[in-house]
């Protein structure tokens, strides 16, 4: 029973940053902009919030700084990928390399290898124990005791889903992605919509970085994003850009990670192999999603993506 509760708690824990990346990332996806810079945005969100907290000691300033910096990165990505029509995959790779290079450079200049915030941040105090729920056996262990961002994340799934399907902005994002000419012909500012869609993603990536570095570990390292941005892209692909469905794929990743970590304890010598499992699970999920998509297709060939 404890093990199951642990696994479920860890699932929520590991899903959170990926869900955040997913629900923001779906906007760019729906606007027909493939944003693989999510990886770099996640890392820089973590880095900039950690850096700010290190010098001010304020969590709020840390988060605010991360949000602002990430808007800036989103603008750079959009300028090169949208305004100047560069290949967005190459722009994305460049941003990913640039963010990690900048973070490493700044740390070196400051004479640090990592940012340790154990003095500024008390992780235990950031965990929210929900009254009533925390006392329910089993469910209390699973649902209570997460940091505030985690709860916010699950609320955001629904909020951003409603924005996508029930508001003007969401409609425009979908129209721009589906038929740019139609959008132009009635005067929708296509680039503005695309920029905004990318920036929604940068903002949630900043939040995800804050969650990852501050709330969870009080620590920043240069490799801590560990491909979560790419996993989010995979989840968005599988979920065809639908916020709720894509979030479910993010949770599948969280579950795979939670299972790997919890069963690692029993795996002995091969426990190291378990680290690879979440990534392989995503490959299998991609395969299944693609198979279902194409199983009824009678067309030959590979569409230009």
């Amino acid at each position: 029973m404890d093990l199951i509760a642990n696994i479920l708690y860890d699932t929520i824990y590991h899903s959170t940053p990926v869900i955040l990346l997913v629900i923001g990332g779906v906007y760019a996806y729906k606007a027909n902009v493939l944003n693989i810079a999510m990886e770099g945005m996640l890392l820089f969100g973590a880095f900039s919030s950690a850096l700010m907290i290190l010098s001010t000691g304020s969590l709020f300033y840390g988060l605010l700084f991360a949000l602002i910096v990430n808007i800036f990165i989103g603008l750079i990505f959009s300028y090169f990928g949208i305004t100047r029509k560069g290949n967005v995959i190459i722009v994305g790779i460049a941003i990913n390399l640039l963010t990690s290079a900048l973070a490493a450079f700044i740390l070196k200049v400051k004479g640090m290898a990592i940012i340790n915030l154990s003095e500024q941040v008390d992780i235990a105090s950031l965990k929210v124990n929900i009254p009533l729920i925390k006392d329910i056996p089993f469910f209390g262990d699973v649902l209570s005791g997460h940091p505030i961002t985690t709860y916010l994340t699950f609320v955001l799934i629904f909020v951003l889903s409603v924005v996508m399907f029930r508001t003007k902005f969401g409609t425009y994002v979908r129209v721009v992605g589906e038929n740019e000419e139609a959008a132009k012909s009635i005067g929708i500012k296509v680039n503005l919509i695309k920029y905004s869609a990318v920036i929604v993603g940068s903002l949630t990536a900043a939040l995800a970085g804050y969650n990852l570095a501050i709330e969870r570990l009080a620590l920043y390292t240069n490799t801590m994003s560990a491909g979560r941005g790419f996993i989010a892209i995979a989840a968005i692909y599988c979920g065809r850009g639908k916020p709720k469905l894509s979030s479910i794929y993010a949770i599948i990743f969280g579950l795979a990670k939670a299972l790997a970590i919890n069963f690692k304890l029993f795996a002995g010598p091969i426990s190291g192999l378990f680290e690879a499992i979440p990534y392989l699970v995503m490959v299998i999920v991609l395969l299944m999603a693609s198979y279902l998509d194409n199983k009824n297709s009678w067309k030959r060939g590979y569409p230009n993506e």
Binding site: I36, F105, V109, E275, Y279, L286, R300, Y302
Partner: protein, 360 residues
């Protein structure tokens, strides 16, 4: 003419701009960029030892860049070069340290074959997923890179760990599987192999039916399918070649440079990612790749000197590299720009002078 000039400008402007921003960053942290760039160039290109080291460093990068180029040219985004290279290098190393006292020719050949085969096998996963099930290769290869990294980490920490070493590492490969140094420099036979492979790939790109089909597939997939190029089959062939080149790069890097597998085997950001920048810089053309690879390796060898001779962190080079990619993603100058027209005039003048000189 206009097109050539704008192409050249579109490669040089990003480099200049990236170095300029690098200089601004250095000034911001109170360093002298001219001095730093001076050391960078001097130690990597102007000094004989440095130049040979640069060429040695360029060798595996030429292969990973070709691996990227063949897939990007076909508009197939094989981001898995890094992972394919890593596995190829690792298993070439396993052959290297497992056997001892073999005939060097046999041992080296065997290691290379294993490295290449592993690279191909690993590349076949995304290839088959793409060709048979139309799974997006970009996302799959990105995932598989992480899986490959975790896999070799597990092997290096566990079954193949060299327990005499203080950090995570496999044993050193046997003498018989090492490429010997040539001309008392860092250059080895591996560099020669790379040059031979390069010539072959040049022909594949420029002169063969496969090269023609790759170009067509990259430029218009529907057209290629409709005119009977069998795109699915070609995707698998492209991945096989890409995987083979990556595996060879890893094996060569192991046997000519690293000699044992550590977690920093591939460097930062990694040979596969370096290859991507080189391929982009060389506009996915073989000759461009050679030039770009030497330039890029000069940055790497130079960055080591920067770390030794100045107090600027070597990560400045990483920043400059990523800025180059960022700027390369767009056309900075169109072929109708004024600057191009002016340069065309100047070049024409110079060329005409030369021609006259030849006639006389």
């Amino acid at each position: 003419m206009k097109k050539t000039i704008s192409n050249i400008l579109n490669v040089f402007m990003p480099i200049l701009l990236a170095f300029l921003i690098g200089a601004i960053i250095m000034i911001a942290i109170g360093e002298n960029p001219i001095e730093v760039y001076g050391i960078l160039i001097e130690k990597s290109l102007l000094d004989q030892k440095g130049l040979l080291k640069t060429i040695h460093t360029a060798s595996p990068l030429i292969l990973t860049a070709l691996a990227i180029a063949i897939s990007f040219k076909a508009n197939i985004f094989n981001m898995g070069v890094e992972g394919q290279m890593l596995l190829g290098g690792f298993f070439a190393g396993v052959i290297g340290f497992t056997f001892e006292g073999l005939n060097p020719v046999i041992h080296i050949t065997l290691s290379i074959i294993v490295g290449v085969t592993v690279g191909i096998l690993f590349a076949l996963i995304p290839a088959i997923l793409k060709a048979k099930f139309k799974v997006n290769e970009l996302v799959v290869t990105l995932m598989l890179n992480y899986a490959a990294l975790e896999f070799v980490r597990f092997l290096a920490e566990g079954p193949f760990r060299d327990h005499s070493s203080g950090y995570v590492s496999t044993p050193m490969i046997s003498e018989s599987s090492m490429f010997k140094r040539l001309f008392e420099s860092e250059i080895t036979l591996f560099t020669i192999i790379v040059l031979i492979v390069f010539v072959i790939m040049y022909f594949v790109f420029k002169k063969t039916k496969l090269g023609y089909e790759i170009e067509a597939i990259g430029k218009n997939r529907d057209f290629s399918e409709a005119t009977g190029m069998n795109v699915g089959k070609k995707i698998i062939i492209i991945f096989i070649i890409s995987g083979a080149l990556s595996g060879l790069a890893g094996a060569g890097h192991m046997m000519s440079d690293q000699m044992r597998f550590t977690m920093s085997f591939s460097g930062n950001p990694g040979l596969g990612w370096d290859g991507m920048l080189i391929s982009l810089l060389g506009m996915h053309s073989p000759l461009g790749i050679i030039v770009a690879a030497v330039f890029y390796s000069a940055l790497i060898t130079g960055s080591e000197s920067i770390a030794v001779f100045t107090s600027v962190p070597r990560e400045i080079i990483l920043i400059i590299q990523s800025l180059i990619i960022l700027f390369l993603s767009i056309k900075m100058i169109s072929k109708n720009a004024k600057a191009v027209a002016i340069l065309e005039k100047i070049t024409n003048k110079i060329l005409r002078k030369d021609n006259k000189g030849v006639k006389k």
